[in-house]
Symmetry: C2
């Protein structure tokens, strides 16, 4: 029993060659082979294929997908939940792009020229380069800046992926605490603030409590950063600033 390569390919709308490839690289090995060496795919194999295709559609590399699917303690429901979340983010991004296109159309009609930054705002999402440029203007020549430059220069794509993932988690933690009404100067919010500080210290530079407070101010004052928080929840940037200050006071 089980399904042949051709059948599976037809179900999934992919080619036989693709299945061969996934077998080769070990991403999806059919659980059985016939006496003649034919690949036989079982139901669980189809399950896995579905997951693979989903994550692929969302832009993950095959290697990343293998890691995700093989990490221990990840049941199907977890994957479905995660996929749903990823899809929602992706949709959000595309909607932002659609809005940007509209914006460009308006500007074009009015004859208003766009600045280069405006033009590409939509791409780059979480652009470290842009961040770095900003950072230079603000803190050029400072210790923290030098440290950041030296350290980030050696980071690989995987590192960056891990960093942004971690940053996302912290952001979510802030958002959750905020949404559930935890006070900004309460333990929960302060703990998240501390995680935030640790994150920066770990990946960028020694973030003292003083510097951290400065960052908190910036998250409110600089619309660029504020937007990052405000688009998650209205008022979140202020909440984050309060939490950072409270956390700094706690450790003073």
């Amino acid at each position: 029993m089980g399904y042949s390569v051709g059948q599976v390919a037809r179900f999934a709308g992919i080619t036989v060659r693709t299945l061969h490839h996934y077998d080769e690289i070990g991403l999806l090995r059919p659980s059985e082979r016939s006496a003649a060496g034919y690949r036989r795919y079982s139901e669980p194999d189809l399950d896995r294929l579905q997951q693979v295709l989903f994550y692929r559609e969302l832009g993950f590399s095959l290697e990343e997908i293998a890691v995700i699917l093989d990490e221990p303690g990840s049941d199907p429901v977890t994957h479905l939940r995660r996929q749903h979340e990823l899809l929602r983010r992706r949709i959000g991004r595309l909607e932002a792009m659609a809005a940007a296109v509209k914006h460009a159309m308006e500007a074009r009609k009015m004859g208003i020229p766009l600045t280069p930054e405006e033009r590409f705002e939509v791409f780059g999402d979480f652009d470290p380069a842009q961040f770095a440029e900003e950072a230079e203007e603000r803190w050029g020549g400072t210790d923290a800046f030098e440290q950041t430059r030296r350290r980030t220069a050696r980071y690989t794509r995987d590192d960056w992926r891990a960093i942004t993932a971690e940053a996302g988690e912290v952001l979510q933690a802030f958002a959750a605490a905020f949404a559930e009404g935890a006070p900004a100067d309460g333990e929960r919010a302060m703990d998240v603030a501390e995680r935030h500080r640790a994150h920066i210290t770990r990946w960028f530079y020694d973030c003292t409590y003083e510097i951290h407070k400065g960052l908190g101010e910036m998250y409110v004052d600089d619309p660029r950063f504020a937007a990052n928080y405000e688009r998650v929840a209205e008022g979140l940037s202020h909440y984050v600033r309060e939490a950072i200050h409270a956390n700094a006071a706690r450790h003073a």
Copy 2:
């Protein structure tokens, strides 16, 4: 004046190598070079780059993008409009995927097993293979079937792209006529039906009026096909059937 590779790369969130590549293949040549051979990008160059990145994001190959951007009589506004449309489609698809994930979660919770077809429904969008399998069951051994098999075997990806695009246009034409209240047995709807028939004859097999009427029935009776029309507009499948019948009567 103008911008250097590095500056442009930072704006756009891409690498310098990517710009080099686009220069190499002629997709985006900087309009100037400095005396030392440095690339200098002008404002119109940035405009073009923005278009390139948009279409790239939407999954077009670089070659296709070059064709799109260089086709005569395509002004920027046209591109913006098209991009907006493409984005909306893409968003629609992702939303369908999100719905499917929810569906899978429900099924999982209820302990309902999914059939292989159900599992992959979301991918493949307009799956020709699935269509072919269905077709075999229905018309296996018939002339039309043989003809389709022989002809489609030689189609390239570009052909398929053209085919689905054409099919999409016909669908839109039906939808538009329907939405604007044109009667199903009126000239406008019948003309679209005739386009539909021509499309099939051109790409698959000689679609006689008799066969066409059979297809019309199927578009209503078979939920698989009906869904294709109904998700565009409620009642559209019936409308299409009527139009096809009227058109056949007109040519009888």
